[in-house]
Symmetry: C2
Subunit: 552 residues, 2 copies
């Protein structure tokens, strides 16, 4: 078992039955959706980050002052970027939920999914139109048409999957109230498109109403989530606790623990016990519910399909964003920074080295930026290694972190402009530090949130007192501290701001490399200090020992 | 088991021991490399396709004739693109092999891998320099520096992993001749950089020699592969057959079958029996081998680490290429095709619809191109669903197919230029058809190659006479046939070339959707025709029945 590189290959050893069932399925044209979902994640993450390009490519000539006009243009483009990121993330989350219901795919579903993706990739353009021409209703009309198309395709997917139930999640497949489920899921899926249909209608004669409706579409999931969370806090606290307990128990003993459930299906240990799992598919005021059920039992209908957002897909989506952000820079460099042959001959007397040295800051900034993105990915990777499942709030924090990571090319563009515009240097460094700070502090926030429910969300080693706890803390705190320090020092030593920034970019990778050593050193120092103050070796050893790795 | 969406989650059910061992590892800071490898695949696939951008962004103004100068520029850029694609693929293959030896990672290895990636992302730029300034040795010098850096980092990874053997592939970990292995692997890894070191030296005084050496670096793996294949064919035919048989037997019964092996490690059923597995790490003339071994036994040293190229990584790399190609287009559209507010006011009297209709062909071409890329991905996905493992030749064919897929944005750019340049319309349509044809015919070739060794490479259902065989044939033959047909018809009906091309783009998705129906129809017709000719129902049913799916 330990010899396998990936979990997949491990299956060949431990799960022969699984492999053979996969082969059987493939023979019927039915496929596990794993690869299609990775592909969709890749597409969606690229689309989400694409709109940073118009921001970075905003041309500010050296003699042009950084005045109101440029600031407004930049602000507009940043707004488009953030809105695109948000809406694509919402679409991604809906897609994730959809394919938690539909567990297997066949050719038709794969093709429908491609149609869905094609429509989603068109969303950024409608946003650009909307922001460039806010008073022309065409942008919002196109946006609404896209959302309606996406909704229609997703509804088609649901109807198709319910028509061939072997494609469904087996828990729904074997559910007696399957038709009821279909109704619910279709209701949720078509809620957004219905609002957009109204918005499209309004856009023809009173467009501000369309914008309001659009905002509702985007924030609806968050509102309904927040509302159900609050309700859960106020009303169903103890009841949830019971469900949690049952789920944990059923997982522990591997037996199917039966919770009260309108579907009559025992919620087996297969599914992680997250009571908010199908909230997405359950509108607050259920009206299509079976009339024979009493009103309070509606709460129990929130049966957990899976984790709220599957950890694998959160990782895949994040990887996509990090990968595209890291390479957006080289993409620019390869296109713009190869000097023209004629220029070299005329301006630099044929010396290619001289011609390239003009672009020197670009290359430096590229390496700095790649290192930053890479190390933020590294921190994210380490973090999710210790995370068992991603709750809704962790997903939201992750989105925020990724949105700032997507802004890093902007930081690059700012820092590569150092040479040309020494005047705005200070501001550029500060913007870069701020972007890095926010990207990393939201990562830190994910961890903090996870620690609040550490039993459910974290691996034992990363919890309070776990062996990796101190290391994780240090890893995630490194970038926020470094960027904050750099920002603060530019306030005192504004003349050396560039030097400070470059020093940070060089020092942080080495800090990561030596992190384990540094943390051990810090812990040893802490322990020594403690030992000096309270010299009770017995009690102290007990509390501190787990923090130190065994293999010192 | 059937309830799990992905193979990973299946592990929670079937492989508790695996999950817990993973948790233990995470506690020690040792991680399975799965996610890092996906991230690397994403980065490398983006880098491989990036260089198509300068090609598509070659500006050809409408009044400018498509003369020698433009042709030369385009040809140069296409050459850069193809060379970059090839070299990045070579680097990717080397990376794949490296992490077949190193099975687990820790923080240091993750950081070293990031350093390696950063250097690889710089390769396209050196290629651009080389092609733009072929007579200036700076480009090749930088290229050599990059390759040497990559080699040094990879050597560091190997040395580090051998220093902490628990990170290694367990088969090497428990090998008695581990030091010998390290020697070998280091030898293979440093072969390229050593050549590049010589090339860097030559570049300072006699650069043509550098180019020759560089070509050797790129094509070395293919040459050595071809040479070893030829030798295997000529000399070791029967011996290979024996190894294959043993491997298959050991897998079938799950017992460890001992093959003669200088490491003394029985080649267990864990590893797929591919005798060419470690060829990459075994230079034809082994000199570092232990002197006590007789010369012919060198052949046996080719012990199989894993499949030559792990199927998962081939899929991940291909997905990355398809995803970035599909979105490159929307990236251009979002940046360039949002009309300027001032332009709309002045030129189009404030009518945004009129302003956008200028870009109409761009949008049409975008959807057409996305559909083409998406459907080619779909064909690839279906193909690899039925493939058990990817041999070296299949990997090469896949690379060639992907290189043409990367050229699709070029086809898009050509077809979106229809409106402006009706003169070159015919040529554009033909180029597009040719690119689509080659991208799809190489996919078809993968399948043909797989069929040659169908027992080893294909799932039973896709083999000759299998239930999915006819469908796979139809799926993979659809695009080559359609593009060939479109190309041929432009020769006869050159006036309607655009219409023909658009017709093809619209018809093919529907053909995919109705493929199962069409294939069944075709088979029924075939059967009817056969039945008319030779009316022997018994024999005919036997041979044809497996071709029809059971669930008609």
């Amino acid at each position: 078992m330990s010899g396998s590189r990936t979990p997949e290959s491990a299956l060949d050893v431990g799960g022969d039955s699984f492999t053979s069932s996969r082969e059987e399925d493939a023979a019927d044209g039915i496929q596990h959706s794993h690869r299609m979902l990775s592909f969709s994640d890749a597409l969606l993450s690229i689309i989400a980050t694409v709109m940073i390009l118009p921001v970075t490519h905003t041309e500010i000539s050296p003699e042009q002052p950084f005045d109101k006009g440029v600031q407004k243009l930049l602000a507009t483009r940043i707004a488009v970027y953030l809105m695109t990121f948000l809406i694509v993330t919402v679409a991604w989350a809906a897609h994730t939920r959809l394919f938690q219901v539909v567990a297997k795919i066949d050719d038709t579903l794969a093709l429908l999914n491609l149609a869905c993706m094609m429509t989603i990739t068109f969303l950024p353009f409608t946003f650009s139109l909307m922001v460039t021409f806010p008073e022309v209703p065409l942008g919002i009309f196109l946006f609404c048409v896209c959302v309606i198309t996406i909704g229609a395709v997703q509804a088609l997917i649901v109807v198709y999957a319910f028509h061939f139930p072997h494609l469904l999640n087996p828990q729904i497949e074997h559910c007696a109230h399957r038709a009821l489920y279909r109704q619910h899921i279709l209701g949720i899926i078509l809620r957004g498109p219905a609002l957009c249909f109204a918005a499209a209608g309004f856009s023809l004669f009173f467009y501000p109403a369309s914008y309001l409706l659009m905002a509702m579409v985007i924030f609806l999931p968050y509102f309904s989530k927040a509302a159900s969370w609050c309700r859960g806090r106020l009303v169903g606290r103890c009841r949830w606790a019971g469900v949690w307990g049952l789920g944990a128990a059923s997982r522990a003993c591997g037996a199917a623990a039966t919770t009260r459930h309108p579907c009559g299906v025992p919620s087996s240990g297969l599914w992680a016990p997250s009571p908010r799992g199908l909230d997405q598919f359950l509108p607050p005021g259920i009206s299509t519910g079976p009339p024979e059920l009493p009103a309070p039992s509606v709460e129990f209908f929130t049966f957990d399909l899976h984790e709220p957002l599957s950890k694998e897909r959160v990782e895949a989506f994040s990887d996509g964003v990090y990968a595209i952000v890291a390479t957006l820079l080289i993409l620019d460099i390869c296109e713009d920074n190869v000097p023209d042959a004629k220029d070299v001959r005329e301006k630099f007397q044929g010396s290619l080295v001289a011609a390239l040295s003009v672009y020197g800051p670009h290359f430096l900034a590229y390496f700095g930026s790649f290192a930053t993105v890479g190390l933020l990915w590294f921190a994210h990777h380490s973090l999710f290694l210790h995370i068992r499942k991603a709750t809704q709030s962790m997903g939201l924090l992750n989105t925020l972190s990724l949105a700032f990571v997507g802004g890093l090319p902007l930081a690059y563009q700012q820092t590569s402009a150092f040479a040309q515009q020494p005047r705005d240097e200070l501001e550029s460094v500060r913007v870069s530090c701020a972007i890095i700070f926010f990207a990393s502090i939201f990562q830190f926030a994910i961890w903090t949130t996870a620690l609040l429910h550490e039993r459910e969300t974290l691996q034992p080693s990363a919890r309070f007192g776990g062996r990796e706890h101190a290391f994780m803390f240090a890893k995630l705190a490194l970038y926020p501290c470094a960027s904050l320090l750099a920002f603060a020092s530019t306030c005192f030593l504004s003349r050396f701001s560039t030097a400070i920034f470059h020093l940070m970019q060089i020092a942080v990778p080495f800090a990561f490399l030596l992190l384990r050593l540094l943390v051990r050193l810090a812990l040893a120092v802490l322990r020594a200090l403690r030992g000096l103050r309270l010299p009770e070796p017995g009690g102290e050893d007990d509390s501190r020992a787990p923090l130190l790795p065994a293999a010192c």
